[in-house]
Amino acid sequence: MNKDKKSTNFLMVVKLLLVFVLTTIFQVNAATYGQNVTLNVKNASLKEVLDVLRKQTGYHFLYRTEMLNHTRQLNINVNNEPLIKVLEKCFEGQPLTYSINEKTIVLRERPVPLQQNIQQTRITGTVKDATGLAMPGVGIKVKGTTTTSVTDTDGKYVINAGGNSTLVFSYVGYAEQEVAANGRTNINITLVESEAELSEVVVIGYGTVRRKDLTGSVASVKGADIKSQGVSDITRSLQGKMPGVTIESAGGDPGAGTRILIRGVGTLGNATPLYIVDGVQVASINNLNQTDIESVDVLKDASAAAIYGSRAANGVVLVTTKSGKSGAPVVQLTANVGVQSKSSSVDVLNAQEWATVHNQAHANAGLTPLALASNPAALGEGTDWQDAIFRSAPVQQYNLLVSGGSESSKYSVSGGYNDQQGIVDVTGYKRYNLRVKTETTKGRLKFGETILLSREKFVTMPAGWGGQGGNPVGSAIKMIPAFKIYNPDALGGYDGASGSVVNIANPVAQLYLNDINRENTSILANAFGELKIIEGLKYRLNLGYTNVFNSNYDYYKRYQIGGLFSHPTNDISLGKDQNVLLLLENTLSYDKVFGKHSIQALAGYTYQSNNYNYTSTARTDLPDGIDQIDAGAGIVSNSGNRIENNLISALGRLIYSYDDRYLLTASFRRDGSSRFGANNRYGNFPSVALGWNIMNEDFFEPLEKTFSNLKLRASYGVLGNQEIGDYQYSAAVASNINYVVGANQQRWFGSIQTAFASPNIKWETTKTSNFGIDAGFFGNKLNLTADYFVKKTTDVLLNVPIPGSAGSVSNPVVNAGTLRNNGVELGLSYGNTAGKLSYNLFGSISAVRNKVIELGTGSQQIFGGQPNHHGATSTLTEAGGSIGSFYLIEALGIFNSQAEIDAYAKDGKLIQPNAAPGDVKFFDKNSDGQINNLDRVNLGSPFPDFEYGLGINASMHNFDLALFFQGSQGNKIYNGLAQDLQSTNLQMNYAKSTLNAWTPSNQSNIPRVTANDPNLNSQTSSRFLEDGSYFRMKTLQLGYTLKDDFAKKLRISSFRTYVSADNIFTITNYTGFNPDLGRTGSIFDRGVDYGHVAYPLARTISLGIQLTL
């Protein structure tokens, strides 16, 4: 073999790799020329296959290039078979035939069969995908005949068929469609992607694998399935679509994003999954553009995730952005304009009602009411504070994507602009995105990069102004309606609460007098170089870099608001932080097929370093309208710090399959982390998984009509979690704990150890077993994926609450216990056609149970979930129970008479001595004759029995429709806001329900109103525990795609317009704003609706276009 040939071969292979970049696993036996061929290609064009055949056999092919235009793509897997047989496969159903002349094979157009039926007509049409893009290479077959055709690059086809025949359209990755011609000569159809199509490629970290070879549990969503809904972040549009993946709003302001939980809560600390974007770890994916997403793959079980070792215990979310494809440039423009409005409100009293209830509450307590309430009728409706801060807010998104390339280089470049105003006045979110992704091949080398730039600007609400209202939404609910919004004479221009009332700030003033902006600039750059060493063996160097700059601006204007809020100076506070991540990965991969054996091996060594630093400065007393530090005349204060952590790892993986029947995946990672002390710095994370493609067994053949796919999977592995703060192993001496000293009263600098160190903490370890089945029925029209898993986490890292008497300001991190999560997940999809209608139904359901096996010393109890400003905790976590179970004093009802109070006694002593008729009767669980925290009982879980999503995509003629529903069943919510509003012992506004409070003549189930509440009706109890189940119609989208001929006249490839609605309705018994709680704090607070951070969900209606040139 001479050198030239070798290099030609090499170039050939590289070209093919490029063409099939993610979809092809290619093996060629280059050493021997001959009549036998070994070939394994997927979605390859005829030309590409012919080129390979030429190379393997030395035969030459003779044809005109345009003859190949209407040929279909090929999936061929042959091992050492005669060329002649392979040629038969290649030309089966092609519009071409061939003849062999010595070493030359001549191609020609297949003659129209002589016995052609005179009734045959010529049918034309266009095939498009759900997004309206033309689909080239779609195979069309007249059912029951050998007549076939293929769509051209514009998605157009021509086929001759009988008027009553049925056309079958098929394309890899899409559900096959049958359409009856019914005499038509023009048939346009839309193909819908099938959910669990076998040949789909799944991103698994440091590589990809065909779904049929997958042994782990991976949930995937393709970019094309993410419907633009007028929401700014991609995670929100993933909600309910992946079994086992819980996505909850992270509440609050526009741009606040979501939090993702994968397979329940496997840790008591940070349960955030690991996010990887194009190979680089990021803190959040909320800044990504929906239209840039090629796929989101969630690694759920240990087999899939173990390659990420110590960071993978909470699951791994892999985001792959779009790559270019070779061919003419494609320009796509999408635009979406919509309006959002609040979808719910909290019912509170108007001014007159408030005064009436207030007066009654004071009369019942024997206390003097406020003068403010002295004449209820005169107050009228008063101010509707919720109306005053909520608005309808526009949202708009524009994206432009240009992609294309040649065989040696490809590119995909996109830009986006996103502008979402909040439904709370003033708030808003803007984002600019720019993304470049290219890939180039030269000889043995391949290199490429992803560059993602984003700039986000958040205008947020103040969290609180002191006092007890909390954020403006919380304040708007609690603020007494008898107060006014504006006072032109007051400094700042606002009126507000005065007198002896709870100090709640005017929410409108909060929004307008406090400018709080955050700007986030994020750079992600990832470059790789890949060198083919020998056939199948590749070395890859990956350099990743992210740099996230945050700057915070907080300008606080001077004001005098009512009688309770004054601030005589303009103050400013500015902060900047930066997080730099450096990633270096060396991997060596080897892919080879030996006969029936196929291996994919990987070994790697990675280094990752993370550096965070922060500085902030503040100054007081600025002139009105000036917001520069230098202009301030008052106090300067500043602060800053830096954090660094490093991770060094070795990793390896072997994927082996025998005869496409038996599959094995084994992986291993060893991580060294700077977060742990010398004794526990390294951790090992192995995993193994087995798969069995039963459908490929000979004995299965009789069932193949029903089953198009059947695979069993089982996996086991060990994952770690290191999500604790840095430097926890050393006892730090905190500085600036200052005091005043001396005759001149100077600052006395103080420092001391304020908390305990945790020198011996070690990795949190999660062992996961997974059993799964993938099945396809009736030509993959119906697909099913089901998984059962058991996840056991030991050495749970936790800030274990220690006694206050130990004297620490915070709780030390310790390895505190063992948790178990087990659950089932089911994903189903069904795609078919009915007449002109083609549709796809899909659904997912998952149920997870968590149990605390051990905690701390054994009897350790962790209480959490404080629901409001002053209440007691509401949840308990302890061994034998579930995480954060509601643990509350039980309210039994209302005492309707003094006799009932007197009868509620223990040993002759009243159990509730301070009660009066109309007060709440509480359950004396421990029968000690008094009501206290020893009477708390377990009353349910914040985790649902199951969660589900259900969707329909359908298209007919040029219209397409998408519906999506999603929900949660069986979880409880503690309504902290209700506790505040129904507690008439505080001088603020009350819930509407207090109008129906108990009186001797109206013995309702709402306790009497009382201004001093000696019976503690308002204490944290089961009174405020509600059912959190909900069913939500999340998405409705109706699209229309322009008819082809019309599009052609306009010289565009396709044009689709749609109207979309998000969060159309929610069916729930929950009385708060939103049962899909946005609380992001500790896991022990889950399911507790904290009134201070309330934020209603927006309903969005938007109009969009998708234009492809």
Partner: protein
Amino acid sequence: MKKIYIAFCVAALLGGCKKSELELINPNQIVSETYWKTETDVHSAFAATYGLLRNVDGGFWGVRGIELGNGRGDDFFIRNDVADLYRLSTFTNNADNGTVNALWNYSYRGIFRANQILENVGRVPLDDAKMKAYIAEAKFLRGLNYFILAINFGEVPLILSVPKDETEYAKPKAVEAEVWKQIIADFTEAGTDLPASYTSEWVGRATKGAAMGYLGKAYLFTKDYAKAESTLRQVTSMGYALMPNYEDNFLVTKENNSESLFEIQLGDVGGTEAWGGENASGALGVTTAQEFAPSEVGGWFEVGPTDKLFNEFQKERTATGELDPRMYATLIWDYPGATFYKKPFSDFKLPFGFKSMFKKYQNYTQANELTGSSGASNYTSSNNERALRYADVLLMLAEAITMQGRPAEAYPFINQVRTRAKLAPLPAGNNQTQMMNEVMHQRMIEFARENHRFYDLKRWGLLQQEIANSDKVGKQFFVAGKHDYFPIPQNEVNTNPLVIQNSNW
């Protein structure tokens, strides 16, 4: 560049990872192992321990501490605004009260830090005298925190060393007598080795007088009157004297004066955030004056004096027939020429139906309470809280002597207090009961708002009687025995398996 270099080294070596990359030193903080090298380290540790006493959330002399120290008294009203405070002042509190929880936690933080000083000061090269003085100062602080815990909670865990590991975090409660024994031991040792005074640079730290004064107080609380007398008598010869004007004790311009044995040092010389916590941005003053001020001057009028207190002041006129000057210094009400915050009293409304407002410790010579002395809108008051005044020493001494059945000997001490208040000397011939009544009356009006009244009533056994016999809101919910102490905070009960709740709770 360094990173990239290392990265390439790693790439080249494939497996020979650099261990040092994983051994990182916290760049923000020194660690305990390398601290405790110089006398400055010791000083800094003391600042961090003293500072807790005025912490806004849980320091006994911070704003919440003043509210809960006084709030249960018959002379004090807390409005229905901050639920936790209202509940404890109306005796409808339970173990979940956040304010009480904070008092507990901050007192124990003080103990943790004092114990750190005691265990580590030996590592610092110091001469013997200095070493002894620092140990004495740390013991004073520990004793003071246990004193706060004992009078509020009774039985509490006694923690006298730094926990070595997690097995030592939880300790059971000691009986109250044990706690007092420790308080007395700490104050005794502090009194032996503390200096009588400091150079002007260090004024404000604990002195021998402070330790002896508190030791006398501890004896009085444990009814060891003989020892109380002998201890407090020593204090009378240490050079302390009453300020000529009672009001001087509550003015920012007359801090650390001759009457002051121990004073909580407050100044608007730190950060600007009143609730900023223990860091550079945290203010070093307190918000008490702003929270207590009327709304007309930017205050939140969270508290007020009851009319029982208003009337108590008027029980005796001065020798010249005037109202007691202490009434003018403590309260503001509608009297001819009354001005408050540079405004006539008629500009103010009395929001609760009581006849007066608190003037003591308010910065009423300013126009409002919004701006600290630094100029920031941080509501911060620099007015030191006088924790232990010589007037207290005199009245405690009078009480200790009287309770030993020698009322006649108490006259000189009680008369010093009366004379300064321009009252006529006490007529001779009081028996023990009459003398105690006089002590009780004097203490009520001398120390209003100074965290004394409730605890005085408790040790006199008069809580139920005096609360019933008052215009206190919520007095009908007072349960004798139960409300004498706070319950152990629920958080402590939740996290400390060795602690059981106080009886009646």
